[in-house]
């Protein structure tokens, strides 16, 4: 859009105020362009809101149907562990290291049948003439007899 102005003064310069006809037409066209752009804004926001309002409604209803606070409270109460008195600590001699005791307890637990829990109560060193591994090897070899 542009217009040019040449002012007529009393010394005789020509006055020429020219408004291009397209300015008027352009203004009308501009309103149409802005009008259709505004329509797009309205349509877009309405459709986006309608879609998400529909989802809001569906999941609000679903939440009301699926979630009852009392059910979750009952589940939380049921999930609370049943506290029992603690068993007395295991006894073991001072010259037996913690790692040895842990290995023994793990081996015992591994040997336990399904559904049965063994608890190691006491560990004491058995003094023998043979080294332990040798004794275990002999026991293994003589087992069939």
């Amino acid at each position: 859009m542009f217009f040019c102005l040449n002012f007529l003064n009393r010394d005789g310069r020509r006055m020429n105020i020219a408004l291009i006809a397209a300015v008027a037409a352009g203004s009308a066209g501009g309103s149409n362009v802005l009008g259709s752009a505004a329509q797009v804004v309205v349509i877009g926001m309405v459709v986006v809101f309608l879609s998400l309002i529909a989802l809001t409604a569906v999941f609000w209803v679903f939440g009301r149907a699926a979630y009852r606070k009392s059910d979750y409270v009952a589940d939380e109460e049921a999930a609370e562990p049943d506290f029992q008195p603690m068993a007395p600590p295991m006894e073991y001699q001072e010259d037996i290291s913690d790692e040895i005791v842990a290995v023994i307890a793990a081996a015992v637990a591994a040997m336990a049948p399904d559904g049965v829990k063994y608890a190691v109560r006491k560990v004491r060193r058995v003094r023998g003439e043979r080294p332990v591994w040798a004794a275990a090897g002999i026991a293994e070899n003589t087992r069939p007899f």
Binding site: V40, F49, S51, L52, F59, F62
Partner: protein, 438 residues
């Protein structure tokens, strides 16, 4: 010796170095810079700056780094990485026909006869990135990214508080407000500032703060603007912690920002499994054009929540996502050649993108304020800004601004609801724009 020197000189003259310091042949001086090798040099510098931002400042590096490197590759002259495959039929000239009949024609290409006429079946292989770009052009990569995003997203906070959907919708105001602004610029009468409706829609989608959605829509409506729009979208997503807080503080009071919201209810597995199915059916029936994005997003989420497809769930959020991220990043960056990027409208796109983010944040916060009043102060308006779907950055910003008012306030999970709702909202908005202008 002369032959050696001549050979070296020929190699140098045909190298990319010589092309860098040339100007285009037509147009103004700026246009000649943009279309000549000098424009490539400027783009190489811009690409290096983006690489610096991605690595040193960690601006969305997963995408900005391949985008920047793709931009670098395409602007190295004569590299040909984005050369289009040529598959055309060129009629033989009279002389070639004579040679053909005499059996002495040198066949550089196969010859095809159609209805008595003879044609060269000219074929030239395209560049590497041109072939990879077909996944962007045909809208394949962005839905696959959405598959991975759906597999990584927990919609629990949204299911627990369905009102968050509305905040996600409100934040999409930025998309349409920017569309209006971009169209209005055309009324200035300056052709370099005018955008078509398709281009305006592609610029507006930056406000959705969703990279795959922006790439998907732009590749369909205005592929010539893909480079600047992708760069703007991912740069602004990294700047969310800087852009949003001032707007959030401007539109809310201290009392509103200090609201501590009720703890969200637990969400059952059944709800989480039914969510993607319901969303897909409801949204796609209403807006079929949103089917690729929404459908893949929900499919990924169903993989996650069903718990029975662990292998493909892990693939969707890891290997597949990483592969497609590489391809989409590098090929989108490769669309940013000097001639398309170095234009006045690129700066305009960057400014409009910033406005899109700002309006989106404002839209979400204002609806949050309305919900604050309607619920008697139970909703913190700050979570509205998270409707801008930069997951999870926008939710973290809500958390951080809320904690500045009240250190004991934990808004993160409440803000995740609108945050992930915004992903769905931006996909719906893209579907609307594609329906109107596609």
């Amino acid at each position: 010796m002369d032959a050696i020197l001549k050979a070296i000189s020929d190699i140098w003259n045909e190298s990319g170095y010589m092309k860098l310091f040339t100007l285009g042949s037509e147009g103004s001086i700026l246009e000649r810079i943009a279309t000549g090798g000098a424009g490539n040099l400027i783009m190489i510098v811009i690409a290096c700056v983006l690489i610096y931002l991605a690595i040193k400042k960690e601006f969305e590096p997963l995408l900005l780094l391949p985008i920047a490197f793709g931009m670098l590759l395409v602007n190295l002259p004569l590299g040909g990485v984005m050369n289009q495959q040529i598959n055309s039929l060129v009629p033989l000239t009279g002389e070639e026909l004579v040679q053909l009949r005499q059996g002495i024609l040198a066949q550089s290409y196969p010859i095809l006869e159609i209805n008595g006429s003879y044609y060269w079946q000219r074929f030239e292989t395209g560049g590497l990135l041109w072939y990879l770009y077909q996944g962007v052009k045909y809208g394949i990569y962005p839905p696959l990214i959405f598959l991975g995003i759906g597999a990584m997203t927990d919609f629990g906070p949204l299911i627990a508080n369905p009102k968050s959907f509305l905040l996600g919708a409100a934040a999409q105001f930025g998309i349409f407000a920017t569309f209006f602004g971009a169209v209005a610029l055309g009324l200035t009468g300056n052709p370099s500032l005018a955008f078509t409706e398709q281009q305006a829609a592609s610029i507006g989608i930056i406000g959705g703060a969703d990279g795959p959605t922006a790439i998907w829509l732009t590749s369909k409506l205005a592929p010539e603007l893909l480079g600047p729009i992708a760069v703007a979208a991912y740069s602004y997503m990294a700047l969310v912690p800087i852009i949003q807080p001032p707007i959030m503080r401007l539109l809310t009071t201290k009392k509103e920002r200090s609201v501590v919201m009720e703890q969200l209810r637990p969400v059952s597995k059944t709800e989480k499994i039914l969510f993607p199915i319901f969303v897909t059916i409801i949204v796609v029936l209403l807006l079929p054009s949103a089917a690729p994005l929404v459908g893949m997003l929900m499919l990924g989420n169903l993989f996650r929540e069903s718990g029975v497809v662990d292998r493909i769930f892990r693939t969707a959020q890891n290997e597949l996502m990483n592969i497609v991220t590489i391809f989409i990043g590098i090929t989108v960056g490769a669309t940013a050649n000097a001639a398309t990027f170095l234009q006045p409208r690129t700066l305009l796109i960057i400014v409009l993108g910033l406005l899109a983010f700002a309006f989106g944040t404002a839209g979400g916060v204002l609806l949050g304020k309305l919900m604050y009043y309607l619920t008697g102060g139970k909703v913190n308006p700050l979570i509205g800004s998270a409707g801008v779907s930069a997951v999870p950055m926008a939710a973290r910003v809500s958390q951080k601004v809320g904690q500045q008012e009240n250190p004991d306030n934990f808004l993160l999970m409440h803000a995740m609801g609108p945050n992930v709702a915004g992903v769905i909202g931006s996909a719906v908005a893209a579907g609307v724009l594609l329906t109107l202008f596609g």
